[in-house]
């Protein structure tokens, strides 16, 4: 295979990881809202935990993005 083509295919494959991270972030906020609707008075205290969880899940998606960017612009 042409190395340049392989590079672009690799970058595209790396972007799949970002979709999986999106599932994780959506899961966290979906469950947060579901819990907040059941007990709205406890929601404010748990918002920080939701943000931290989303940030940690999103960080792994960012790793996938960095792999894609490295493949596109550095390798």
């Amino acid at each position: 295979m042409d190395p340049v083509a392989a590079k672009y295919i690799g970058a595209g494959l790396a972007c799949l990881g970002m979709g999986l991270a999106a599932m994780g972030v959506g899961n966290i906020f979906g469950n947060f809202v579901a819990g907040a609707l059941r007990n709205p008075s406890a929601a404010a205290g748990q918002f920080t935990n939701a943000i931290v969880g989303a940030a940690l899940a999103e960080g792994l998606g960012i790793f996938a993005l960095v792999v894609a960017l490295v493949l596109l612009f550095v390798v």
């Binding site: 920080t48 931290v52 940030a55 792994l60 960012i62 960017l69």
Partner: protein, 249 residues
């Protein structure tokens, strides 16, 4: 279409070369000076009156203070307030850097990994140095949670060490990735607008679609700019909590 990466280019404004090293004053350095100047001017001017009933501007500064102070107290405890100057400086710098980057034509300082990596290394070295200075060898209990069966302890220690090493990497990459990806997306959609508008009458009408998209994306980017500054701050507080109270998490 214009290159969406070109906006991150470093341009020397005052070229300075010492020996073989390049120490030029770049647009990145200029924007950092602007950010620090804006932060200092905002906080000094708004709080110089020191009224008991705050004016609008003074209450903005007080809200920023109370917001970060509340975050530090909640995540690192009351004795975490000794790190408040560090955390507040980091929050204001990252927030202003992200917001200044949203000004059209301005340079986004936090879209360079060297800047975010330096901030993350500052946080992690503070955690390590303060943790060992304050707790000595007890600080290493962070890597061996108490109450575990001896059989799985070596495995857990390895996992905890890897998780600790990945902290500065993920802290810096998260901020860098969010800002870089957001600004590339904005530029790509801006490129669609000019490309479609230049392609005849039908394309000119069709260009309205990416204009709507770029407006929505700009609003989203403002949200991301503030949210990532908050995420950086709160993770800093959580990591500092490990230096203050190892083994209590």
């Amino acid at each position: 279409m214009a290159d969406p990466i070109k906006q991150f280019e470093l341009v020397p404004i005052v070229p300075i070369t010492i020996g073989t090293g390049d120490f030029s004053f770049t647009n990145s350095a200029l924007h950092m000076f602007i950010i620090v100047g804006l932060t200092a001017a905002f906080l000094l001017l708004t709080t110089s009156g020191r009224r008991l009933v705050p004016t609008r501007m003074q209450s903005m500064a007080e809200m920023a203070y109370e917001f970060v102070a509340g975050t530090v107290r909640q995540t690192a405890g009351t004795d975490g307030m000794k790190f408040f100057p560090l955390v507040f400086s980091l929050f204001m710098f990252v927030l202003l850097a992200n917001l200044v980057g949203m000004v059209p034509g301005a340079f986004t300082v936090t879209s360079h990994i060297i800047v975010t990596a330096a901030l993350a290394m500052l946080v992690i070295s503070t955690v390590i140095v303060y943790g060992i200075w304050k707790h000595g060898t007890h600080w290493f209990a962070l890597f061996a949670p108490s109450g575990l069966p001896k059989v799985i302890l070596p495995l857990i220690v390895v996992i905890e060490v890897i998780s600790f090493i990945s902290r500065p990497i993920s802290l810096s990459l998260r901020l860098f990735g969010n800002m870089t990806a957001g600004h590339i997306a904005l530029k790509v959609f801006a490129g669609f607008v000019t490309a479609m508008a230049g392609a005849g009458a039908l394309g000119f009408l069709g260009a309205a679609l990416p204009v709507f998209m770029i407006t929505a994306l700009t609003a989203l980017e403002f949200l991301v700019a503030a949210l990532q500054a908050y995420v950086f701050t709160i993770l800093t507080c959580i990591y500092l909590n490990d230096a203050l109270h190892p083994g209590h998490h």
